[in-house]
């Protein structure tokens, strides 16, 4: 279990992450949602070990994160940050192979081939990473991260993703979340920061809503997705509609009244 208890992080006395406690079990997808500046990415960096948290604790499978070496940490969790720049002309295959840097696997070549196919990037493998489009880059980075935890292991592991679908088209967005779903059966717990509420509603098992550094609500999808709490978190009118085809929830955000009035005044000026 990945456990964060009362994690607290301040920048110049201002709390960015405010006493957040959260649990992620292997085999489930936890979506973290919230408006811009809610502290999602900072919380994410504390969980991944990038930022040391002085107050509160983060534990992987019962081990305190500060006591794990980088190498041991890499064996139990993989991280996909929002943006990754590569300054040198590495090929896609070379970038994906980097996922294996601190582990030894039986058949590295076969594993990488599998992951490249799963992420729909195997046709790009000999191309230079920097020449790819934004969406392709994002899929290659996903491949690199998946390579790190692809081989099944006897202990539970975790995958942390910060907006993995931000530059993807709608088909690729769903493709990525479907891959994440298949990882559940490999005893992997997935924490994913998303902006698209409908993706979260459709694929996540649990949702945590973050606002002003605090958890506004956390629980199963059904518990969390309520109009009132969503409107409070995002400061925006939101309607929940039942999808007439699948019966699932659809989240619809109508334009806010304030925004409509502000446009004419802008024109007059």
């Amino acid at each position: 279990m990945l456990q964060a208890s009362q994690v607290h992080f301040c920048i110049r006395q201002r709390p960015i992450v405010d006493e957040v406690s959260l649990e992620l079990n292997p085999g489930e997808i936890l979506a973290v949602l919230g408006p811009n500046g809610a502290g999602k990415s900072t919380f994410f960096k504390i969980l991944s070990g990038e930022i040391k948290c002085k107050h509160g604790a983060v534990g992987y499978n019962g081990h305190d994160i500060h006591k794990l070496k980088a190498r041991d940490l890499a064996a139990v969790r993989a991280v996909m940050p929002q943006h990754t720049q590569v300054n040198f002309p590495f090929t896609v295959q070379e970038v994906a192979e980097l996922g294996l840097i601190s582990t030894k696997v039986m058949q590295p070549a076969k594993l990488i081939q599998e992951v490249l196919e799963a992420t729909n990037t195997s046709h790009l493998k000999d191309q230079v990473f920097n020449h790819l489009s934004g969406g392709e880059k994002q899929r290659v980075q996903l491949a690199r991260v998946l390579v790190q935890i692809w081989e099944t292991k006897p202990f539970p592991r975790y995958l942390l993703l910060d907006e993995p679908t931000s530059s993807l088209d709608i088909a690729q967005q769903h493709a990525v979340l479907k891959i994440l779903q298949t990882l559940k059966s490999r005893n992997i717990g997935i924490l994913v920061i998303l902006h698209e509420l409908n993706l979260a509603a459709q694929y996540a098992d649990k949702i945590a809503l973050l606002k002003n550094g605090m958890i506004a609500k956390a629980g199963t999808v059904k518990e969390v997705l309520e109009e009132e709490i969503l409107e409070y978190v995002f400061d925006h009118p939101i309607q929940l509609i039942q999808n007439p085809v699948t019966g699932g929830l659809l989240i619809s955000a109508t334009a806010q009244a304030q925004v409509q009035t502000s446009i004419p005044t802008f024109k007059q000026a």
Binding site: S48, G49, E50, K69, A70, R71, D72, L73, A74, A75, A78, V79, P81, T84, Q85, V86, N87, F88, P89, F90, T91, E94, V95, L98, G99, I101, S102, T103, Q107, P108, A109, K110, I112, Q113, R144, V145, Q148
Partner: protein, 352 residues
């Protein structure tokens, strides 16, 4: 099929390195035979094979002396220093994640030169202290290089990323400061100061003797091998320090190792032959353009190509104004500066 592909990749890397090794041997042979005192090629081979006990032909004692006592240590030194500059340039570029980094540009060379000059002025040339000088000078130069590279790194880093503009500015500042201090120190030194200043600022392989070879071999060769062992970590660092940490690399430890080894290689090189610019910049670039960015090839390739380039430059420096010699830094800068301009031009183009 992938296994086969992977296999061929390693094979082609080895073949590339083998090719570089072959070219290096050719350049070394040319360098041994050409110069103010020309030794015909058959004689050159005969002298070399005579050393391992194989008779190939006749040669004069004078030829053997010039080749073995004057040219051989010089060629070996050019190999070590050139290779060292190449591999240190490649490692620093990888660590800074910036293709513009070069030992000369970011102040490592100047810092080393400053400390070497300070050492020479401070430690009197008493014969009983000669042993201190053979080891103390390169180590002192290493400390100077390490201080400068660490300073530039700290100045240019923000949130785990290095900013190109600050990096170059920090390099310029450190370079200017160190160069001014060298001038100041030399001003207080003896009358050979003017000659020394040319040596430290443009480099000169003419002082290479057999006595300097073992120290260089130890203090350049060993850290170069240590740099080679970090090629996989450098690949990970190319994605970013945070990403490398996510993948299980102990970033802090690797960075310290890279800084110390590069500073050692450059500092010792500078203390032996002065500052030689542009080798550490041009060489890793050529390798990347030709063979890709995988540091498992870039590092050893840069060592070999650096050795080739410096031997070649030294050969030109020796034969272009016979019987005098051109400072080798003039040649490397003449080759390197236009390349650098082309590089900046291309970087600008790729940004737009």
């Amino acid at each position: 099929m992938i296994t086969a592909l992977n296999h061929t990749k390693i094979q082609s890397q080895n073949l590339t390195l083998l090719g570089f090794g072959f070219v290096l041997v050719l350049v070394v042979l040319a360098s041994l035979s050409l110069g103010a005192f020309s030794i015909p090629f058959p004689q050159t081979l005969a002298i070399l094979f005579d050393q391992i006990g194989i008779q190939l032909g006749t040669f004069e004692v004078q030829q053997a002396n010039v080749l073995l006592q004057i040219r051989m240590p010089r060629v070996l030194m050019a190999m070590l220093v050139g290779g060292g500059l190449g591999i240190a340039g490649a490692a620093l570029q990888g660590m800074f994640r910036n293709p513009l980094v070069e030992p000369g540009l970011i102040g490592v060379s100047t810092g080393s030169a400053l400390f070497a000059v300070i050492f020479m002025v401070l430690v009197p040339t008493v014969s009983s202290l000669a042993w201190i000088k053979t080891l103390g000078l390169p180590l002192f130069a290493f400390i100077g290089g390490l201080i400068c590279v660490t300073a530039v790194y700290q100045l240019s880093k923000s949130q785990g990323r290095t900013d190109t503009a600050t990096l170059i500015l920090a390099g310029v500042a450190i370079n200017a400061l160190a160069a001014a201090l060298i001038g100041l120190v030399l001003f207080f030194a003896d009358d050979s100061a003017l000659r020394s200043f040319t040596f430290w600022s443009l480099g000169d392989l003419g002082g290479a003797t057999w006595a300097k070879v073992p120290v260089s071999l130890m203090l350049i060769g060993v850290p170069s091998v240590l740099l080679l062992l970090n090629s996989r970590q450098l690949n990970a660092l190319a994605l970013g320090e945070q990403e490398a940490f996510h993948m299980g690399v102990n970033v802090q430890q690797v960075k310290i190792r890279l800084l110390i080894c590069s500073a050692l290689v450059v500092g010792v090189g500078v203390s032996m032959v002065g500052m030689i610019g542009f080798v550490g910049l041009v060489v890793p670039h050529l390798i990347r353009i030709l063979f890709g960015a995988d540091h498992r090839l870039v590092l050893p390739g840069s060592f070999l190509l650096g050795a080739i380039l410096l031997n070649f430059a030294d050969l030109i420096a020796r034969v272009i104004v016979i019987p005098a010699e051109m400072p080798i830094g003039v040649i490397t800068a003449l080759l390197g500066a236009p390349f650098f301009i082309w590089l900046i031009f291309n970087l600008n183009k790729s940004k737009n």
